[in-house]
Symmetry: D2
Subunit: 136 residues, 4 copies
């Protein structure tokens, strides 16, 4: 068992007016929203909603590194490619890329570390969730 998944998960994020700024491209902070939507698609929204509403358990972001290489524009359907791995008992690392249609390389790349917080925001080991199980 590997506790990781290195075959990219694909999620489509469409660029709407709300995502752009007056320079004509997507506002830099908004890629973090696209990446979070992808993670929720991977983890399962119902799983996350139940963890939160029934057990007060949620994921918190601990660290983010982002690189911006090209600006996405209104109308782009971005392909968000994500791989991830569990590290130790307390951390999950996600590797996100945002690809523009017909892009030759990723427009934006991101490495993001998550930890898990229980009631009263107390750090707890990552629960044994389905998306962390090896696909092999």
């Amino acid at each position: 068992m590997m506790d990781s998944n290195m075959t990219p998960h694909h999620f489509t994020a469409q660029v709407y007016y709300e995502d752009t700024d007056h320079s004509g491209v997507v506002y830099h902070a908004n890629y973090l929203k696209f990446f979070e939507r992808a993670r929720e698609d991977i983890m399962g929204t119902k799983v996350l909603a139940d963890m939160w509403h029934k057990h007060e358990i949620g994921f918190a972001i601990y660290k983010i590194n982002i690189g911006y290489h090209e600006g996405a524009i209104f109308g782009d359907r971005l392909d968000i490619r994500t791989t991830w791995k569990k590290e130790g008992h307390y951390r999950i690392i996600f590797f996100h890329e945002a690809w523009r249609p017909d892009g030759k390389k990723a427009a934006v790349t991101c490495t993001l570390e998550l930890v898990c917080l229980g009631p009263n925001k107390k750090l707890m080991p990552i629960p044994d969730l389905d998306f962390l199980k090896s696909k092999e």
Copy 2:
């Protein structure tokens, strides 16, 4: 020909962390984003992107009335139901509703008037777009 469409168009807007606020429900302004995504789905994003990037023509919002009846929460998949009609040569009116899963009535309702602006933000007649053609 009717220049209107009274059979609701359906669009799904999933409620993510980004959409909620600390009171536990969707932040009031964010429903306007869901409604805009639905309008772009209706009008065709490629049509809108081409209008904007090639001809500097875009739609601008002139008036909005919103009623809030129930708060949507994280994990909800909202059904955005939209009808619309053209009024005169210069206005399109959209009627949006956001329905929660298993909702007995609309959680949020919205009437929104659009006008069309050409280069230099000059008011112009609504172009003859496909989504305005009667479905009959």
Copy 3:
């Protein structure tokens, strides 16, 4: 005693990148954020934070009417002018205007009705808060 205040309250909202969209002006939904910041300035953030964190009481928006007359741009320092009145025991109505620097008329106007929700989102009478006391 009047339970209203018809001398406008002034609040400055600066337009940042985050507020604009690729059409070059402020994204329509973002004026609602400016108006909310003004209301919190009027009501007192500490009062609101205490109501929420200690008593689980908060204000919820019930209805909004907005009119858009001119687009604000990056760098504008908007003057948000607000008056308000209490109506009956359960509603407060706010009248907001966003003025651009050197504007001849309001760029955006908004009428907004608030109600008060206690624990479990139960409707309750508007509390006897300082900002509702007549200034006369």
Copy 4:
């Protein structure tokens, strides 16, 4: 001449409803908005607006590293402390910290690299702006 400024610049960012999410703290991406407001305060909004509207020159973000240590809540007035330095002809590096009221250490820390883009998004040397001049 140093092309750097290591005495922190202070900027206050108030946490409003719009900034929080349903977990009760500020949504992770929104600290990037606070940091950008601080940078615009440092650079001078009028300078930036003129660069953009008159010369089509703007700053673009190239890289960001963020660390999250504590969550800010509704009503917090965050002290955004910023230092910066120019590196070579093409890069400015900003060091941002968000401090909660009575915080013992920074709640969020961020290192951010900016480059300068001229018309057609072409990379250009950093202009000789006032905020880059040594204060000594």
